[in-house]
């Protein structure tokens, strides 16, 4: 009968015991194709991942894109579309279980409130769901860049309570590094495809010359820096906001303290006179603490900045490596 896709995969186990993600090249190619067709520049494409959970593994076997929104069709129902799509897939006997979603990224800028929110809702509904981040730019440079993320349980809890105040975050000990956990990916091909590829490799003579020493620094680094700078600005603003909040808070605390002292003095006097002491409950009514700025954005920004930094670091270290190599080669040849 019908050969199911996942039958073609061999499953590997990873030694760290974490949830692993198995992905098929078919899915990867589909995502890439989706971006090639619809995504441009900083535009982002998104889609649904389908698959199934096997033991502690999540297998992604298929995907379909979200249609590009246009402002003309307002009454387009995304959910409806997804259900339709999944039903149709089921009809052709393809895995139709919803296991997450994918999204393209622009120079690694994906840590955002939108991602957090939608990933939270996914993860809330389907515990196993992941978000697959595809970086088309890096991929275009020759190295496939595909990463899977899940929200950490801590962050899930916080998100559930929808309390992003500084206090809770502090209590939860959530830093930007604890927000997302990366899930290792293993991409599997069917043996047939592997064979085909090998065959092709044999056949193709010398492949196109690779500019191995190309630094290609100009654009990529500049863009990254620009984005980084933008986020740093955002960070500064957040800090200033937080700063003023802190100042207000401390001012109020002082006032409160003074008030309390006065009240206490009064009460001791009253006691000495034998009068009943004045109540101290009204103090909270008098001093309403100022609205604390939500810290989630700061966290997200920090995460994003970290992301950029990682990117830049990786990129520059590669380039530096190339430079050293070139230097060494030059020294050797001369």
């Amino acid at each position: 009968g019908l050969i199911r896709f996942n039958d073609l995969y061999r499953l590997y186990e990873f030694e760290n015991g974490k949830t692993q993600l198995f992905n098929s090249w078919g899915v990867v190619l589909k995502i890439i194709k989706h971006y090639q067709e619809e995504g441009q520049g900083s535009e982002v494409v998104q889609g649904v991942l389908l698959g199934l959970v096997v033991e502690d593994r999540l297998e992604i076997t298929n995907c379909f894109p979200f249609p590009q929104h246009t402002e003309d069709d307002v009454d387009f129902d995304e959910v409806q579309y997804q259900m339709e799509m999944m039903r149709s897939l089921r009809h052709v006997n393809i895995d139709h279980l919803h296991v997450g979603w994918y999204q393209s990224t622009y120079y690694g800028s994906f840590v955002s409130r939108a991602l957090l929110d939608s990933q939270f809702s996914y993860q809330h509904a389907i515990e196993e769901s992941v978000v697959l981040i595809y970086d088309p730019i890096k991929t275009a440079q020759g190295s496939l860049c595909l990463k899977a993320y899940r929200l950490t349980p801590k962050l899930m809890e916080i998100c559930k309570e929808k309390d992003f105040s500084p206090e809770t975050l502090k209590k939860a000990c959530v830093g930007y590094e604890h927000m997302l956990e990366e899930v290792p990916i293993v991409i599997k091909n069917s043996h047939l495809i592997n064979v085909l590829l090998l065959d092709l490799q044999e056949k193709s003579m010398v492949a196109d010359k690779h500019e191995l020493l190309n630094l290609s620094s100009s654009n990529h680094l500049e863009k990254s820096l620009q984005l980084l700078m933008d986020r740093v600005d955002g960070m500064s603003q957040e800090i200033v906001k937080y700063n003023s909040y802190c100042r207000n808070l401390s001012k109020q605390q002082q006032q409160k303290q003074q008030y309390l002292q006065r009240r206490q003095q009064e009460n001791t006097q009253r006691q000495s006179r034998g009068e009943p002491p004045l109540p101290e409950e009204d103090i909270n009514k008098m001093f309403k603490p100022p609205q604390a700025p939500p810290r989630m954005d700061t966290l997200l920004i920090a995460g994003q900045v970290n992301n950029y930094c990682q990117n830049i670091k990786a990129f520059t270290s590669q380039n530096l490596g190339k430079l050293f190599m070139a230097e060494a080669l030059q020294g050797h040849s001369s």
């Binding site: 680094l221 500049e222 740093v232 960070m235 500064s236 800090i239 700063n243 802190c246 401390s250």
Partner: protein
Amino acid sequence: MSRFFATGSDSESEESSSADEITPKATGTTFNKQALLLSDDEEDTKRVVRSAKDKRFEEFTNIIKTIRNAMKIRDMSKCLEEFEQLYRAFLKSKTIMDKEGVPQFYIRLLADLEDYLNQLWEDKEGKKKMNKNNAKALSTLRQKIRKYNKDFETEIASYKENPEQSAEEEEKDDIGSASSSKSDDDEGVTAKSLMKKKPQEEEKKAPEASKFLKGAADEESESEDDEESEDWGSDSVDSGGESEDNEGAAASLAVVFLKKAQDGDKHPERKKDDRRKRHKKMEQVDEEADEEGEGEEGGWEKVKGGVPLVKEKPKMFAKGTEINNAVVIKKLNEILQARGKKGTDRSAQIELLHALAGISNENNLGEGILVKIKFNIIASLYDYNTNLAAFMKAEMWKKCLECIDELLDILFENSNIFIGENIAEDSENLAISDQPFRVRGCILTLVERMDEEFTKIMQNTDPHSQEYVDNLKDEGRVCGIIDRLLQYLESKGSTEEVCRVYLRRIMHTYYKFDYKAHRRSLGLQGETKSEQDQEESEGEDSAIIMDRLCKFIYAKDRTDRIRTCAILCHIYHHALHSRWYQARDLMLMSHLQDNIQHADPPVQILYNRTMVQLGICAFRQGMIKDAHNALLDIQSSGRAKELLGQGLLMRNMQERNAEQEKIEKRRQVPFHMHINLELLECVYLVSAMLLEIPYMAAHEFDARRRMISKQFHHQLRVGERQPLLGPPESMREHVVAASKAMKMGDWKTCHSFIINEKMNSKVWDLFPETQRVREMLVRKIQEESLRTYLFTYSSVYDSLSMETLSEMFELELPTVHSIISKMIINEELMASLDQPTQTVVMHRTEPTSLQNMTLQLAEKLGGLVENNERVFDLKQGVYGGYFNRDQKGGYQQKQNYQRAPDQRGGYQQKQGYQRAPDQRGGYQQKQGYQRDQKGGYQQRQNYQRGGYRNQNQSSY
């Protein structure tokens, strides 16, 4: 007063209602007082009866006097009014009358009045002439008096029979009549009510009053005397005795008038006599004038016919009169007295003075008197126009020049004449004697005034007409006069006067280009010159003259204004003759830039002119930066025309009313002294171009670059806004097109736009050394284009051959070398010179965009860190114990670690390093350099401009 009266009448009950037919009275002052006294006295009467009676009688006599006066001037309404008052007063004093009897004078008045009225009534002619009010009053009064007099028929009859009745008789009669008047009182309610009250009071007083009867009789006789005097007054109209002077205002006025009328009658006769005498005199004068010649006589005739009385005063002397100093001076004073009076024919006065001068000349009265007369002639010439704004007519002007010339002639010929403002009128010595002449008057003031008049004439002549040229020809004469005066004063005048006249001379010299000296300096003497030219060229160079005059003023002047003007003119003259360094040094030494804003507008205008001339001079010398700085303020305001006093800008009336406009018009500089505004603007724009274009190229990517010249940028923008770019037409378009070419380093196109026929005719040919300026300009364009080229395109070159550059810009190799070296030294160009190959090797030290961005990022991170630390500081300050919790211990430690000094130090060091890379340092330095360069001028200039504007505004 009238209000008091009104209340008074109220208090006295319905009295006034009785007088229904009585016309409302314009209150006679005398009566009002009486009425008040009366009402006040009612209580007094209890005690002092006699005084009450006195007062009543006094009141009567007063009223009667007024009535008699009114009768005299036939003022019927006044008569009526007074009569009514009299009547009322009579009623009030009824009781007294009852006791004392009706006074004789009262009866007499009634009788007289009736007669008088009848007489008037009969006079139909007179009645017609009367005005309406009077006529009405007459008829009313006549009816009243007729009715009233019925009560006193007997008395009146007896009076008419025997005007000199004795007091006793009178008394008896009075009692009788009083009772009768009481019984058949027909005067209505008021009288009755009054009588009801009064008799009661009076009855109490009656016994007391009777005691005084004898005294009262005495009173009576006294009042008789009064009467008599009054009679006498009324009879003798002409004498108008002193008693009348004390009467009411109207009456006394009338008297005065009467007197005058009499006088007036007498005067005409006198005047006629005068006139006759005068005619005689004139005839004599005519005879004299005949001798003097026909022309003069004609003028004389005219005066005689046309002018009114006052001016007919004989200036000349009776035949046979010995004409000597005293007589002439007397005449002169006579003439001068009419000066400034309304209706004085000023031209006639001038004629008369001329005639007088002729006479004195004729009779050899000496120069003293002649000078005196001349002074006055010139003064009255100036007086001819009463309006300050109006200018002299051509003929007057000519006459004035002649006169001043003659005056100077006299003064030069006779060194024994002393003139001066300070010589008092009475210490003058005009007679020929051993003593030198002493004449009051200031020739300098006259000449100054003449100069001002000349300016006024030039201001009011259309500069594009032949007339202007004709008028301008007079400038020679004006200068001549000033020169002569200068010579005169140098020998005789005080230092102050010399300074003043020097300034006049300077003012006529400073703006003229000395072509002779110019030609001489070029060594072009001889050949084409005519004799006349040669003659002229023998004179002193204007530079030498200026130098001499100005230095004298610097040394001797004690008024700031003259010195300031002299300095400015000196600078202007230097600048005009391309002596840039002298001009600049003088400007800087004078410190005028600091305090020119305190000067008056004309001086500020002069300052602006000087500044502009200085700028143009710098431009000619190729000192572009100086030129730009000097012109910046005048040009950037956009009101160069106004600031230079070369015309008023069109503005709405809100900013300036007609009066201020007049004042400003008077400040305008005559056309022949104007500075060409197009030339000025062109010079400014070209200098701005030469400065701005390389600067723009050098700082193309600099976000913080500043404009050197806003005006120039404005012009560029205007050029860019053009939808269709045709070949340039105006001067500005030429400059803009040239700038665009220069931006590309295309000096040939630039050159062709700046120097071509159109621009030559418009601008460059206006310079005295056209060719030199043009050469300088070409060279500047080449140099600056080279600089621009290097700034713009250095990034595309690795190295550049200097020879190529020298070919490209047609500059000699050393020049190219020096320009590039300068750029390298100033760190404008990151390159080095390779001597052996004669190439410029670029260093490429311009930061790439990535580097730029990194710098920015570093800055931002610095900010971030700072903010972060602030948060931390706050935490530490307030929550001192917060971090002591176990949980947070580690965190705090970490923070503390980060705050460790070396960490921050390291960061700061990094920042410091980044902030001061060579590139930026160079830029800053450069800016600093430019600022230094500008400093001196700009600041001060700004000052100055503000000053003038402020003043202008404050005067609005």
